[in-house]
């Protein structure tokens, strides 16, 4: 089918662009590894975890959630550059499916993210993290849902704002509160956070991912956090993709 071919072509194109720009790869690899190396020792002390491995059970899934969020919400930066270089316009004037123009790069970003996630898990194993592969596989699906949601939002915002400063203002303005209200670094729970903060966190899609990721890291599929995360993230992801495709269809000047 034409749409599938188009998605494949644009997926390959975007991946090729990324691989030829090694600075992105370097940043992508080094950020999570730095978090692991420089934050885990502190966390171990603060949480009084008996071993680094147990501290990582709390923190490593958080890092992967953070990476999914960051990889998604930064997707629009390359859209801005491609808009300014006339690349998006060049695609829009071909009969290529609009959905393919949106999703091709997003899927490429997801692949890249999953590779980085694997690196993080292996580095974590080196520090004593006990990997439960079944739980991690389910987590990978959730990570993709969240990253796609924010990537679609980010790309659509880039298309609407068209220039880097307005785009960066919107994305940064949204990123910080979402990050703080997700309990990525320190968990938001009834023991740690005031009630109003717990309520606010429930309006944040990233929060659902973070709590589910902690359950999945210890293979606890049955906990309600897991199905709740799917129930929240899947429809949001679908809605965001539909909205972003609409933005792409509507002509952009």
């Amino acid at each position: 089918m034409k749409v599938a071919t188009d998605i494949g072509l644009l997926y390959k194109r975007y991946t090729r662009q990324m691989l030829r720009n090694p600075i992105w790869l370097f940043v992508g690899f080094s950020t999570p590894v730095l978090y692991l190396a420089l934050f885990t020792p502190l966390l171990k002390q603060v949480t009084r975890a008996p071993s680094t491995g147990i501290a990582l059970e709390l923190f490593l899934p958080g890092i992967m959630s953070l990476m999914a969020f960051a990889s998604g919400s930064s997707a629009g930066f390359s859209t801005i550059f491609e808009l300014q270089g006339g690349v998006i316009e060049r695609f829009r004037v071909t009969p290529t499916s609009r959905f393919a123009i949106l999703i091709g790069p997003i899927l490429s970003g997801l692949s890249m993210m999953l590779v980085f996630d694997l690196v993080v898990v292996f580095v974590g194993i080196g520090f004593g993290f006990d990997a439960h592969w079944g739980g991690l596989a389910v987590l990978a699906v959730l990570l993709c849902l969240l990253a796609t949601t924010f990537a679609a939002f980010s790309v659509a915002t880039a298309i609407s704002t068209k220039e880097i400063s307005a785009f960066a203002a919107v994305i940064n303005g949204i990123n910080l509160p979402l990050l703080l209200l997700a309990g990525v670094l320190l968990p938001i729970s009834s023991q740690t956070a005031p009630a109003w903060m717990q309520v606010l966190a429930h309006f944040n899609p990233l929060y659902y991912l973070v709590v589910a990721s902690r359950a999945l890291a210890v293979d606890a599929y049955g906990r309600p956090e897991v199905w709740q995360a799917f129930a929240v993230l899947a429809p949001i992801c679908a809605a965001m993709l539909a909205w972003a495709t609409r933005i792409f269809r509507r002509a952009v000047a």
Partner: protein, 328 residues
């Protein structure tokens, strides 16, 4: 002439802080199959906006447009399959090679890899790109890049190729080279629709053209007919004594029967006369009798700029376009 592009009363306005701006105000044109058709006008005349409506990139406010027999508003997808478009930016991937760019572009039109690869090979040979086909586009010179942009615009063998300001930023040699390539496209039967603010480009390249200003068509025809309408020769006189002296000279010379038209801009007086050769001595004598001192006097055959000047009262050379030429 078999029409391949028609527009009827095409309109587009944009919102701005100072209220709506009418960018295109009722453009009606017919372009024949196989023509090189040009839109000539200064920046902001509405050329690019019209082009973007015809290429499905901008929704049409009112009026209608058909390309290759299809309604642009109703069947944008089908129109896209039949046209090629090269924007001012080009939009090739800098980190990919010329060949990779061409193949991807062709594949997005749904052609098979084998077909596209063969076509890309032929196109690169025709446009002198083969030698650096496997180099990254980032390393291309301006002229090489523009040729790649054009190759990408025609890799799917479209019926119509739209070129937006194709030679902006090119040096004269590359510009002349580009004109040869565009003429070669016509020879292959491709209709070429281009916008330009270069008078020479419109004159040399276009079979027919329209001159646009403030969103409207002010003249239409072949370059030769348009220039003939201006009639006779142009005499350009620069006087000592500034604007007032030029105006005085204009009033005097207007009375001379062989002078058809006189316009004054700053200290420049521009006259259209039936026959420049016989008019010059008469004009010089008249000015001498009135003791108006001349800085320079020039006799030239009319150019498209004279056509533009006659229709709008402004020169295409002195206004915005010259400034953008410097910027580009």
């Amino acid at each position: 002439m078999e029409p391949i592009i028609t527009t009827t009363d095409l309109r587009k306005s944009f919102r701005s802080k100072r209220g709506p701006v009418e960018a295109v105000r009722g453009v009606s044109i017919v372009v024949g199959r196989g023509e090189i058709f040009g839109f000539l006008g200064p920046n902001g005349a509405g050329k690019t906006t019209t082009l973007r409506m015809l290429t499905t990139l901008l929704p049409i406010d009112s009026g209608s447009a058909t390309v290759a027999g299809l309604d642009v508003g109703r069947a944008p997808k089908e129109v896209r399959a039949r046209i090629g478009y090269v924007s001012q930016l080009g939009g090739a991937d800098e980190l990919a090679t010329g060949r990779e760019n061409l193949v991807l572009q062709g594949r997005l039109y749904g052609d098979s890899l084998a077909t596209v690869t063969a076509r890309a090979e032929r196109l690169m040979a025709a446009l002198d790109l083969t030698d650096f086909a496997d180099r990254k586009v980032r390393t291309y010179s301006g002229g090489q890049r523009r040729r790649l942009d054009i190759a990408m615009g025609i890799v799917h063998e479209p019926e119509v190729l739209f070129l937006d300001e194709p030679s902006t930023g090119l040096d004269p040699q590359n510009r002349a080279n580009l004109w040869v390539q565009i003429e070669a496209l016509r020879a292959r039967g491709t209709t070429v629709f281009l916008t330009t603010h270069y008078l020479e480009e419109a004159d040399v390249l276009c079979d027919r053209l329209v001159i646009m200003d403030h969103g409207e068509i002010v003249a239409e025809g072949t370059p030769r007919d348009l220039k003939r309408e201006v009639a006779g020769d142009a005499v350009v006189i620069v006087v000592h004594g500034g604007h007032e002296a030029a105006q005085r000279a204009g009033r005097i010379l207007e009375r001379e029967p062989s002078v058809r038209e006189a316009t004054v801009e700053d200290d420049v007086l521009r006259l259209y006369v039936e026959d420049g050769g016989t008019a010059l001595p008469i004009l010089l004598r008249l000015l001498d009798a009135e003791r108006i001192e001349l800085r320079t006097i020039n006799l030239s055959e009319p150019t498209l700029d004279d056509v533009f000047l006659r229709q709008t009262g402004r020169s295409l050379r002195d206004g915005g376009p010259a400034g953008t030429e410097a910027a580009a």
